[in-house]
């Protein structure tokens, strides 16, 4: 029991420390827990760019700490506890797998604020945030459908999780809308990170006739494969991948966490932080659409930009009925807009997609 008392004392000490920081004399301490290395050039890299933006914006009013390569599970729990013990006021946990650890640690440190990316469990001191990447996918689908000559679009996917399936459906629906003959072939890499495998997957798709490659993996390997093959277009993922513009990369989806991170840090400073569920898209700037290059015909580019603006303004939702599921059953009636709940847990293909989702 003595140890238990000690632990609680420690928690209390941390809480006191937090209180001391919050009164404005000391910098606000913000922690970031990353699942990959900051040098991954993709998911974690962009979160770290967000961290650097926070530092640049607030200067010496904040102190940021981060831990990279943190595996999900026990290690994540320790990383968060460690940051909380050392006086962090706000902790961003940036991987879906950190969900249960975040909730568990948050319960032990009621005075520390937590922000968990891409999850669905919240508490009084735990917010969740995620990005509507499917909005960007809709624009990609439109460009892809217009530009494909072989009517075959290749899609490199990681694992069959809702986030990935949502992206495939969104891209497919918008490609189909402008080109009824379009076909998608999906390759599941079954890995989050293996650049060599991504290169092979891209090549396999191109050899099978695809002249547009969409990717839900973070390396530039597919861009290089497309550049080599020639006559194939691609889109940057997570980062702009501008080094492959104007061809094969004709546009990109950029993860832009900076505005959100700055806003949340400000809220803690102002004492206005509340537990919220944020799911932002192009409008608030969480999803960035990289420059559409001149390789895209002017009219297509104009349409794509119009769609981008309509989505940003909230005038158009990429999942607007009528949409049927793959088995032909009705999902959304005419004019009906998909609920966030349906989107969050999406585990089916829409009508017209061939192949099955592995499970």
């Amino acid at each position: 029991m003595k140890k238990r008392t000690l632990l609680l004392t420690g928690v209390a000490a941390a809480a006191i420390a937090t209180g001391a920081f919050a009164d404005g004399h000391a910098p606000l301490k913000v922690g970031f827990v990353y699942v990959g290395p900051v040098g991954d050039g993709g998911w974690t890299y962009e979160h770290d760019q967000g961290r650097l933006a926070v530092e640049a914006h607030f200067g010496d009013k904040v102190e940021t700490v981060f831990q990279e390569n943190v595996p999900e599970g026990a290690d994540a729990e320790r990383a968060m506890t460690q940051m909380a013990l050392q006086g962090a006021d706000l902790i961003f946990t940036t991987s879906f797998g950190y969900m249960d650890p975040t909730i568990a640690v948050a319960a032990k440190f009621p005075d520390v604020k937590f922000e968990h990316a891409t999850g669905y469990k919240r508490a009084d001191n735990v917010s969740t945030y995620s990005a509507r990447f499917y909005e960007g996918r809709a624009i990609q689908g439109h460009i892809a459908g217009k530009m494909t000559k072989t009517n075959k679009i290749g899609y490199i996917a990681s694992f069959p999780i809702p986030e990935v399936i949502r992206g495939i459906n969104s891209a497919y629906l918008h490609a189909k809308k402008v080109n009824p003959d379009v076909e998608f072939s999906v390759v599941w890499a079954y890995t989050w990170f293996d650049p060599a495998k991504e290169a092979d997957a891209a090549k396999a798709l191109i050899e099978n006739g695809a002249d547009v490659i969409l990717q839900h993996t973070d390396s530039t390997a597919p861009q290089a494969a497309a550049a080599e093959a020639g006559g194939v277009i691609t889109f940057g993922q997570a980062s702009d991948m501008g080094e492959y513009a104007p061809l094969p990369r004709v546009s990109s989806i950029i993860d832009n966490w900076a505005p959100y991170y700055i806003q949340r840090v400000q809220a803690v400073m102002d004492g206005t932080w509340e537990s919220v569920d944020t799911w932002d898209g192009i409008g608030p700037g969480m999803v960035g659409i990289g420059e559409i290059t001149d390789a895209v015909p002017a009219d297509v580019k104009a349409e794509a930009e119009a769609m981008r603006d309509a989505i940003a303004a909230g005038e158009y939702h990429p999942f607007t009925g009528p949409i049927n599921k793959q088995d032909g059953s009705v999902w959304l009636a005419d004019g009906e807009i998909a609920s966030d709940g349906d989107l969050a847990g999406m585990s089916f293909y829409v009508e017209g997609m061939t192949g099955e989702i592995p499970n």
């Binding site: 990170f193 997957a201 530039t220």
Partner: protein, 309 residues
């Protein structure tokens, strides 16, 4: 659902896909042939990947990059060589430590190279051979390193089989005490082999970062070094079968992705584990066929050598 996989393109891409593991595996085979087990292949590959990438970016020449990768891999392997040959440390643990160290070191070296595009490695345009209808695009349309890897395999095979040096090398691996008694410098022979293995692993890593991907990201070898180790065992320490093993593994990896791209209705989970399962299956068939096949391992493999013992 048409089975539109083009065998010509498939062979062409399997040769590219297999080259990194082929290079690393042929180097490791020589190392094991002299009786040393270096489990640090992954670490040497990734250090080669960043050395090659960084130097190629700085000089603008992929060829210089590849040379730097070979040197980088060889230098790192000398650390292993010094520890295991002079200080007689345990080879298995030292090799694993080398992998850990190499992964860390490469990330430190590569911090300023994330998100850069390397200079491209040209494909050879072989005049006559490249124009042969089927074989041309299949075999004769690659970059130089593909042929270098094949040349190294042939060279190692010839060296081990026909030269005196190869004989000494094998003698050291089979019985270091006997080789020592015959007056050969066991440690020097082993260091040379370890260095060769490191250089080959470095080349394999650079092939990933300069040609196959091409990009630098931390941990980008993603386990290729471990596959190379498995290929050496698969090959029963024979050069020809290293080639077979690497191309088999690379070939199935490429084929399974092609099957997915063509929309063949085989569960993806099964496809994604197929390269490993089929490699095991083939090994089982080969080793049960000839009872002694698995006994080909060099007799002194993994054992420390000290002149007084």
């Amino acid at each position: 659902m048409d089975l539109s996989i083009n065998p010509i393109l498939l062979v062409a891409s399997l040769m590219v896909a297999s080259t990194p593991i082929l290079l690393a595996a042929i180097g490791e085979m020589v190392v094991e042939k002299v009786g040393v087990l270096n489990l640090g292949v992954e670490g040497m590959m990734i250090v080669g990947a960043i050395c090659g990438f960084a130097i190629a970016v700085e000089t603008g020449s992929p060829a210089v990059g590849f040379a730097a990768a070979a040197i980088g891999g060889a230098i790192l392997s000398m650390l292993f060589g010094f520890l295991t040959q002079y200080l007689l440390s345990n080879q298995v643990a030292t090799g694993l430590a080398l992998t850990l160290f190499g992964l860390g070191l490469s990330s430190l070296m590569g911090q300023s190279y994330v998100g850069i595009k390397p200079p491209s490695t040209p494909k050879l345009d072989i005049p006559l051979l490249g124009d042969i209808p089927v074989l041309g695009p299949m075999l004769f349309s690659h970059d130089l390193m593909v042929y270098v890897s094949l040349a190294i395999v042939a060279g190692v095979w010839g060296f081990l089989k026909y030269t005196r040096g190869g004989l000494i090398l094998r003698a050291v691996g089979e019985s270091h005490d006997a080789a020592h008694a015959l007056g050969y410098n066991v440690i020097l022979v082993r260091l040379a082999a370890i260095g060769f293995g490191g250089a080959c692993a470095g080349l394999g890593g650079a092939y990933l970062s300069l040609v196959r991907v091409p990009q630098w990201t931390e941990g980008m070898t993603a386990g290729a070094g471990w596959i190379a180790l498995a290929i050496v065992v698969f090959a029963s320490w024979r050069a020809g079968r290293v080639l077979l093993g690497a191309y088999l593994f690379g070939g199935i990896t490429v084929l399974q992705l092609n099957l997915q791209a063509a929309g063949v209705a085989i569960p993806v989970e099964l496809l994604s584990m197929s390269p490993y399962l089929i490699t095991i299956l083939v090994l089982v068939i080969i080793s049960s066929d000839r009872n002694r096949a698995a006994l080909n391992a060099p007799a002194s493999l993994g054992r420390a050598f000290h002149a007084s013992s």
